[in-house]
């Protein structure tokens, strides 16, 4: 089994005549906490969309878990263990957090099929859901209206729904966006406790969070991977400063 959970080879993407990136080669180790940083328009979100299958590359390939997934649908990639969260909250309004997480677990295990047995028969999954909610400090809100949750908690719930699928790779597009500094740290400290079976790839603008929680940092600029190294080395690199501040 390959050491890499995610790899892209010679990924080429363009919208119309506008080339987003050419020859993107990228690799992510199992269990790694990997941050992507870079100025606006560097192609970060496009990259994540290509990886998750919302967009198709013009050429090149995406490897996930040692298999080519370039032509798989997002759904197939979810089943294979690649799960993303959404930048904009998209939750189930009429379900409370407990029901939402139980639903995610039922779908993960393929147990939401036609049957006459009440949900309450799935005690193991309900326990697991409650454990997840407890872990992410949502146990007190488990029975409340999802709509009524504060914004930060809704983001946490969004992450719980993704984590519930026990992904091999979890993709987070700006998980701390719209949160206070303290809330941002809370989100990341919860993520830091996740098992090492799950690799995490996240886009983040807050450098404090990036340097504190990432094992590896990739710097994107103008559609190219400028640098990929440990947080310390990235922090010290004059090239990165150049990318952000211009010449």
């Amino acid at each position: 089994m390959s050491d890499m959970v995610l790899e892209t080879r010679d990924l080429h993407m363009a919208f119309g005549g506008l080339v987003i990136f050419n020859c993107m080669n990228f690799a992510l180790r199992r269990g790694e906490r990997h941050a992507i940083i870079g100025p606006n328009g560097a192609g970060k979100t496009t990259f994540v969309s290509l990886v998750t299958g919302l967009l198709k590359p013009k050429s090149g390939n995406v490897f996930f878990d040692g298999r080519i997934v370039t032509n798989d649908t997002p759904q197939q990639r979810v089943k294979a263990g690649m799960v993303r969260t959404f930048q904009i909250n998209s939750l189930f309004k009429a379900l409370n957090p407990l029901e939402s997480v139980v639903l995610a677990l039922l779908e993960r295990d393929g147990k939401a099929r036609l049957s006459l047995r009440s949900v309450s028969a799935e005690t193991k999954l309900i326990d697991e859901a409650m454990a997840l909610l407890t872990q992410f400090d949502l146990a007190r809100d488990a029975y409340g209206l999802t709509e009524a949750l504060p914004y930060g908690k809704q983001r946490l719930l969004e992450i719980v729904l993704a984590v519930a699928l026990q992904p091999k790779l979890l993709l987070l597009d700006e998980p701390a966006a719209g949160l206070s500094t303290q809330q941002g740290h809370e989100v990341f400290s919860q993520l830091a406790h996740l098992s090492k079976d799950t690799a995490i790839l996240f886009i983040e603008h807050d450098m404090n969070l990036v340097f504190r929680y990432a094992d590896v940092v990739s710097v994107f600029a103008a559609g190219a991977l400028v640098m990929q190294d440990t947080p310390e080395n990235v922090r010290r690199s004059p090239r990165v400063r150049e990318v952000y501040l211009g010449n």
Binding site: Q75, R84, E107, S118
Partner: protein, 341 residues
């Protein structure tokens, strides 16, 4: 945030208890069914009208699976009702007179038709969906209406024989057997539908109603679930159709007319969607009102039905039953949604 909270056994138990409580029968539900059964003993009650109410209630409940739980509006639900009605009719006409097995057969065939319909429409939404379901209904109506040799056309199918239920209870002109037969079948199917909506599948339907895109990203087979919901809804509608044929020993193209599709939608909306009981409450209100209005103004009663519809969507947008629940909950605010632990 250094210390991570652990899951306590009490908390886990409370969570399972929450789902168990959702599935448990409450006293109002039991009273509701007892009251329906009790109607039999009310002096001068119109038993035929009552069995019509059970049949329409079951039919509206079948639409509730699609509309209330999955959020799919259908303007062609009478198609499934009609399929069930004609299957039961053919059974009775060609010697399969035992009613319960014929009812099961009618449900099975309606389910297949529903499943295929679901396959067909699962990518269509909004007004297009209304049009396609209506279109399919009209196609079927036209087919039945025109195939006079096979279906009897407008005159309906004659010579349907239904054996006594369980070999004991003959369908009589007072509608006594029809009353109990329709009520018991409707109740059994209600119990089944209730179990399904409280099951993981029911939760998945509501999830897809609320946010289909998110469901796809959970890896849920959203499109397959649409077909399954259609199959279930169609089977229940088919049972209602078969009940109508068996209790009246007659079937005509009327059973799958657009009028019936519109009426069942009206009934469900009046009662309220998403709680299974809405269909029965709606049927009760609609049929009794219709009976009464048609008696006092035979020509213009549709004016009042129309007005009722306008008033319901204007002022009780969720239907009568949910509006009533809101009112009740205001009186007893102590009954919260779940444990606060």
């Amino acid at each position: 945030m250094s210390a991570i909270e652990r899951l306590t056994p009490e908390r886990a138990k409370a969570a399972t208890g929450y789902f168990a409580r959702l599935a448990r029968w409450n006293v109002y539900e039991i009273l509701f069914w007892l009251a329906l059964a009790g109607m039999y003993f009310v002096p001068n009650v119109d038993l035929v009208l009552m069995s019509q109410i059970f049949i329409w209630g079951l039919f509206a409940m079948s639409l509730d699976i699609l509309l209330g739980y999955r959020g799919i509006p259908s303007l062609g639900h009478a198609a499934f009702f009609g399929v069930g009605a004609y299957v039961a009719g053919y059974c009775g006409k060609f010697g399969w007179t035992e009613p319960i097995s014929a009812l099961v057969l009618a449900m099975a065939i309606a389910a297949v038709v529903g499943w295929l319909t679901g396959k067909l429409v699962q990518r269509v939404t909004g007004v297009g969906l209304l049009m396609v379901t209506l279109g399919l209904n009209l196609i079927l109506y036209d087919l039945v209406h025109r195939s006079t040799d096979v279906t009897g056309g407008d005159d309906g199918m004659q010579g349907i024989v239904i054996a006594p239920v369980l070999g004991l209870f003959r369908f009589d002109i007072f509608g006594r057997t029809a009353f109990w037969y329709a009520l018991i079948i409707a109740f059994i199917l209600f119990v089944i539908a209730r179990a399904v909506v409280k099951s993981p599948f029911g939760l998945a339907l509501v999830g897809a109603r609320e946010n289909p895109r998110r469901m796809i990203m959970l890896g849920a087979p959203v499109e397959g679930d649409v077909s399954r919901a259609f199959a279930l809804g169609a089977a229940l509608a088919g049972a209602a159709g078969a009940l109508l044929t068996q209790t009246t020993q007659f079937v005509s193209p009327n059973t799958l007319s657009f009028q019936r599709s519109a009426d069942v939608l009206v009934i469900l909306i009046i009662g309220g969607t998403g709680r299974l009981y809405g269909g029965f409450i709606g049927a009760l209100v609609f049929l009794i009102l219709r009976d009464w209005l048609a008696a006092i103004s035979p020509v213009y009663w549709y004016f009042w039905i129309g007005l009722l519809l306008v008033v319901v969507v204007s002022f009780f947008r969720k239907g009568l039953l949910p509006s009533l629940e809101t009112l009740l909950n205001r009186w007893k605010p102590s009954k919260a949604d779940g444990p606060t632990a």
